[in-house]
């Protein structure tokens, strides 16, 4: 696509460092907002991690006993939205786009829809017909295959999401505590029935490289850009280190503002995990 604007595609990931992964997830849009790096699409994975939304209470969103048994880490991201389970067969995508001060205030709903359209284009290349469901879901039929969250940081519009490629839905159902109100709103009784994976839809194993390739093409087609592979800048790495140290590994960040609904043992378990990573 000669002449098309060039954006960066970065695939830096640390499967066993979920707190650092989330710190990088914030460092990149901040750097884009500062104008230090080009508009960026990131593909990355966490292994065996629950990521809760900015405003969620961990005690109400996770099943502590199941997490302890399976060694599942709990981390909090900086964007709102709901809790998700990440494993190595779940692909995260994150798009950071600069917003000029003179532009109209970005519309996060439109940003979700546009990213959803890009992912939808990519999945169509695999023969998967996904549909964007406002506010921030992609579904195949009645089942969710991808969910998004986002934030409007200074100078940047940021949307990220996760795509279930071949995730362990049994483990997902065990460690997440999805409220009945949420399931009933979607007309299902269990979270396992509410979601599906690309492997389930296609009825075959799906390689992560295959998924990343079609999503790359989907984003290029939707936004009419060329994506060039590039790593993190020194500034992004330094910011991610600071964010990990000062925010993501801060005990109060993961526990949140209210500790009344978890037992003392459950809170202590979360604090031990954070302390072990510092």
């Amino acid at each position: 696509m000669s002449g098309a604007e060039r954006w960066r595609l970065t695939e830096d990931e640390w499967l066993d460092r979920p707190y650092y992964n989330l710190a990088v997830e914030e460092a990149i849009p901040r750097a884009v907002g500062q104008g230090d790096v080009p508009p960026t699409l990131r593909f990355w994975r966490n292994d065996n991690t629950i990521v809760i939304g900015r405003f969620q209470c961990p005690a109400l969103e996770i099943r502590f006993d199941a997490c302890q048994r399976s060694g599942t880490t709990v981390v909090r991201r900086f964007t709102g939205g709901g809790a998700v389970y990440h494993d190595a067969a779940n692909l995260n995508y994150a798009l950071s786009l600069p917003v000029a001060p003179s532009d109209d205030p970005p519309d996060i709903f439109a940003a979700f829809a546009r990213v959803g359209a890009a992912v939808r284009r990519g999945l169509a290349l695999l023969g998967v017909d996904a549909e964007f469901r406002p506010i921030n879901d992609l579904q195949v039929g009645a089942q969710k295959i991808s969910g998004m969250a986002g934030s409007l940081l200074p100078g940047v519009s940021f949307v990220h999401g996760c795509l279930l490629v071949g995730s362990d839905l049994v483990r997902l159902g065990e460690v997440l505590n999805v409220p009945q109100a949420k399931l009933e709103g979607k007309g299902v009784r269990s979270v396992v029935k509410r979601v599906t994976t690309l492997q389930e839809v296609l009825g075959r194993p799906v390689e992560m490289a295959e998924v990343k390739e079609v999503l790359r093409r989907g984003f290029e087609a939707e936004y009419q850009v060329t994506l060039e592979r590039g790593g993190l800048s020194a500034g992004e790495r330094a910011l991610a280190e600071r964010l990990q140290r000062d925010l993501y590994l801060a005990p109060d960040w993961t526990l949140g503002p209210c500790r009344r609904c978890a037992s003392r043992a459950e809170n202590d378990a979360l604090l031990r995990e954070v302390a072990a990573r510092r």
Partner: protein, 102 residues
């Protein structure tokens, strides 16, 4: 008395509240949920704005409305009214704290 409840915003996300009621007033009000809200620090500030508020619908609604008037927020998946509503739901459905809760 400790209360907590969850409110499903119509066509939106979940809003939860945890609070204590002592002497007919709200204390330690904390909102959580899977909505989107910017600037994000204001979620805690709304809970603080309800500290010592009478556990009475009109006053609760008034304080929530006054807060958002002073703190313009970009809310997605929930409305300002949802935050008042979840508090009222918690008060009407109050029950004793669960065993082991701190």
């Amino acid at each position: 008395m400790h209360c907590k409840t969850v409110w499903k915003a119509p066509k939106g996300k979940l809003v939860r509240v945890c609070l204590d009621v002592e002497g007919g007033k709200l204390h330690r009000v904390v909102f959580t949920g899977d909505f989107f809200w910017e600037p994000s620090d204001d979620v805690d500030a709304l809970g603080e704005a309800l500290e010592a508020a009478p556990a009475e619908p009109t006053e609760i609604r008034r304080r929530v409305a006054a807060f958002f008037s002073d703190h313009p927020a970009r809310l997605f998946g929930a409305t300002q009214e949802d935050f008042a509503e979840v508090v009222l739901q918690a008060l009407s459905a109050s029950r004793p704290p669960a065993d082991g809760a701190q």
